[in-house]
């Protein structure tokens, strides 16, 4: 009996790990009032068009809302738009907007405002413009009806519109103060209004008394303190200076879990580490060699030693993570990850490709006697990237490759990995990619497609394969969800054969918060939505926190 109870508890824990962390007791009644104090990181401007970082979104999502939102179950939900429809030729998407909404500056929210924001995004090339691919223009049909005109059908547009950076700001304010002005005081329709902002210090939002969703929000204000140092962040949470801290290091989790006033939650992110393989360089133009590289890396070992066993999850599919549309488990039966660690298989594949140890020096050579040596580049930022690179070096050396590991400063690294096929000098480089909108369109069309070779897109591998290109294009245009999911699955299956990169674990995100905070959501994209959060005042007082 006890065994089953424990099993059930473990299963519940597992399940809770894979849904967005919904902070709070569902049965409790929300309480009004109070100030929620969070830690955050705003390095750039507060203007959505020029800041697509999770840290930026965490700030402006309090004040600025989207046409649609994506629920935890991956369905599209209305927000500022109450409904939408697709034309027969699939080249026009028409939105019906909610009526009677005002921006914080009193400007009415209507079709004209929506059209202005997106036409401006196209004209001024806002940072998210690549996610609007195929969008020609946006037209206000009437006061509350707006149409998005596409040059070719795109199934990705609606999910992309839920990306928090595509929120609708006040055109009046934009015209008056420009990007710079909105960069320090964003004006949208959201539940909170920017009250004060000091760059590098804090931003404070107060309740929007005219918010269109009656009875919301619950909090009087939200204060976000910018605390870049993680040790300081955690100390502030433990002392009660703040209510929530993000980016908890994996090795601190057990300690925080033991504190009764804190809750720690871990969710898989949309971010996967991977090693770019330069497909143009020999012998990496051979899929067998690329597959061998994949089999040679012990992914479970990486999760254990770099991420303390909890900070990352073994990948079940190439590029796509469980939160993304079309995700399917692509593991071989009985294996814990794709390309499960298999040294013999790796050696065998290399042998088929013509590489084996011919002179007994434990280094693989080709028929001409040239040793298989390669350059692996990494940077010292990101979650454990340098340690992962060191492990990969060791794994590849174990199967007889010579690996030269180079560590670059992050800005240098970024510049060196943004070069076209002629100039790129790396053989392998460790990176992480994120599926920002939880839609597979970006990885399909923009990360692996032939047209997306650097510098035009984000295909740094210079990978090119007619079948993956074809499937990507089909999925890009397909409005039928079932068919589209099937194209995505076929695309993933083809990637497993081609192995354009070395697939590594999916990074987990960990937050810790005071137990009296309820109703906030930590999303797989790394954004934290506390707009509908509330504070249990009695519990807060009990914990001795009086601010």
């Amino acid at each position: 009996m006890r065994y089953y109870a424990r099993m059930a508890a473990a299963a519940a824990l597992m399940a809770s790990a894979f849904i967005p962390a919904s902070v709070g007791a569902q049965d409790a009644k929300p309480q009004y009032g109070g100030e929620l104090v969070l830690t955050g990181q705003l390095d750039k401007t507060m203007f959505p068009g020029r800041n697509t970082d999770a840290g930026g979104m965490d700030v402006y999502l309090n004040a600025c809302e989207n046409l649609v939102t994506m629920a935890a179950d991956r369905t599209m939900q209305p927000a500022l738009a109450k409904s939408w429809s697709l034309s027969d030729d699939q080249k026009t998407i028409t939105f019906q907007l909610n009526e009677g909404i005002q921006f914080h500056d009193g400007t009415p929210f209507n079709a004209e405002a929506v059209a202005f924001v997106f036409n401006e995004a196209l004209a001024k090339k806002f940072l998210y413009v690549s996610l609007l691919e195929g969008l020609e223009k946006v037209v206000a049909d009437s006061e509350y009806q707006v149409s998005f005109k596409l040059s070719k059908p795109s199934a990705a547009l609606i999910p992309n519109l839920a990306y928090r950076t595509m929120c609708i700001f006040s055109p009046t304010a934009y015209k008056a103060v420009g990007e710079e002005g909105l960069g320090s005081k964003i004006i949208g329709t959201g539940p909170f209004v920017v009250d004060s902002y000091v760059k590098g210090e804090h931003v404070r939002f107060k309740r929007n008394e005219n918010y269109w969703q009656k009875g919301k929000p619950y909090l009087d204000s939200i204060r976000i303190l910018f605390v870049p140092d993680v040790t300081t962040r955690l100390a502030m949470l433990e002392s009660g200076d703040v209510d929530r801290a993000q980016g908890v290091p994996d090795f601190d989790i057990p300690r925080l879990q033991s504190e009764e006033n804190l809750k720690v939650s871990t969710i898989p992110s949309l971010q996967q580490n991977y090693v770019v393989i330069n497909n143009l360089k020999k012998p990496f133009d051979d899929p067998r060699v690329r597959q061998a590289l994949n089999y040679a890396v012990d992914k479970a070992g990486i999760v254990k030693s770099v991420f303390a066993g909890t900070g990352a999850t073994l990948s079940q599919a190439p590029t796509l993570t469980p939160g993304v549309f079309g995700f399917a488990d692509m593991r071989e039966p009985g294996k814990n990850t794709i390309f499960a660690y298999d040294v013999e298989k790796a050696k065998d594949l290399l042998k088929q490709a013509g590489y084996e140890d011919r002179n007994g020096d434990k280094v693989l050579e080709n028929a001409q006697g040239e040793p298989l040596s390669l350059k692996l580049w990494t940077r010292k930022t990101g979650k454990g990237e340098y340690q992962i690179a060191q492990l990969i070096q060791a794994f590849l050396e174990k199967i007889g490759m010579k690996v030269e590991l180079t560590v670059l400063e992050s800005a240098t690294f970024s510049a060196s990995l943004s070069l076209g096929p002629q100039e790129a000098k790396y053989d392998l480089a460790l990176l992480a990619w994120t599926v920002p909108t939880a839609d597979p369109d970006e990885p399909m069309m923009y990360m692996t497609h032939t047209k997306a070779w650097k510098p035009a897109g984000a295909n740094r591998m210079f990978f090119s394969h007619p079948e993956t290109d074809r499937l990507a294009e089909l999925a890009h245009a397909e409005p039928d969800q079932k068919k589209r999911a099937e194209y995505v699955r076929l695309w993933m299956a083809e990637l497993l054969k081609q192995a354009p990169v070395i697939y590594l674990p999916t990074v987990n995100l960990t937050e810790a918060y005071r137990t009296y905070v309820h109703g906030a959501q930590y999303m797989p994209a790394g954004t934290y939505d506390a707009t509908m959060a509330w504070i249990d005042k009695a519990a807060k007082k009990e914990q001795g926190i009086s601010r």
Partner: protein, 306 residues
């Protein structure tokens, strides 16, 4: 005296312009593309190019340089590449915050070190001297990120006496100022002690003692005054260290100062902001040195006649 001040101010202007020139070309010599960093790693080249054009980063280097310098001469340090706010607006308040932190820390460091160093010299080779020497050695050997984090956990998390990050109340000052100030005091104390031992060994001190002047007067009036010259120099140089240390303390205690801003701006290749930060740091440094020179003349009137 006036001539010295004018000379130094003229030097400041020249040094500032040379520094900006040097930084400008240094920044362009190191790899890293600001437009790429603004757009994000996976942004398409067309977008990066449009940012390059919008920010004038596609212009020839010489054009960028002359445009920048012309603006600087008019008092305009440009806009930050990332936040698009005027550099002066960002740097001004940050400089003030760092000045507050460094100022209070220096004051603490100077008072503590003058007192402890003199006491140490007075009780040379006695238990008090050994105790003070041990304190200063420990202070010199312990980096401030260690003392800072220990302080945070002890006073902030466990005892909950002091707030951890920010600078909104006087309580917020205690930990960063103590951490930075005491670390600095440790080094200063050694210096004051050495100078005082030297001064107290001179003949005029022996004369004063034989005349029956009270020991306290001998040490703090005659001894200290004569030991002051090297001490002033050391304090002046020490301010440089304090500014450097402030960058670390600012990160630990989340102090919105110039040091942290500078480090961040270099990592993001935000050239206008980096230029602004380093320029004002340098100006502060030159001004402090000028003050040290003036203090020198006050402490040793012989110099003023040279």
């Amino acid at each position: 005296m006036l001539k010295l001040i004018l000379n130094r101010l003229a030097f400041m202007v020249v040094a500032g312009l040379l520094l900006l020139t040097f930084l400008f070309f240094l920044f362009h010599a190191i790899p890293g593309d600001p437009a790429r960093l603004i757009a994000g790693d996976s942004a398409p080249e067309a977008l990066v190019e449009s940012i390059r054009q919008a920010y004038g980063l596609d212009q020839p280097l010489v054009t960028q340089y002359t445009t920048y310098m012309r603006r600087v001469l008019q008092g305009d340090f440009g806009l930050s590449n990332f936040s698009r706010q005027p550099v002066l607006q960002i740097v001004g308040p940050r400089l003030l915050n760092t000045a507050k932190l460094a100022g209070w820390s220096m004051l603490l460091a100077m008072s503590v070190s003058l007192l402890l160093g003199s006491l140490s010299a007075m009780y040379w080779d006695r238990p008090l001297d050994r105790g003070i020497t041990a304190f200063s050695l420990a202070g010199i050997c312990t980096p401030i990120f260690v003392t800072g984090i220990l302080g945070i956990y002890f006073f902030g998390v466990h005892l909950r006496w002091l707030p951890i990050g920010g600078m909104s109340t006087w309580k917020h000052y205690i930990m960063p100022v103590m951490t930075l100030g005491l670390a600095q005091a440790a080094g200063f104390t050694r210096m004051v002690r050495a100078c005082m031992i030297d001064a107290l060994g001179r003949d005029f001190i022996t004369t004063a003692r034989s005349k029956g002047v009270p020991e306290r007067t001998i040490v703090f009036k005659h001894g200290l005054r004569n030991a002051l010259l090297p001490i002033i120099t050391f304090f002046g140089l020490g301010l440089g260290h304090t500014l450097g240390g402030a960058a670390v303390a600012e990160s630990i205690f989340n102090w919105p100062g110039l040091g942290r801003l500078m480090v961040d701006s270099i990592l993001t290749r935000d050239l206008p902001l980096t230029q602004g930060c380093i320029f004002f740091f340098a100006m502060v440094f030159i001004l402090v040195n000028l003050m040290v020179d003036l203090l020198y003349r006050w402490a040793d009137p012989r110099l003023a006649n040279d």
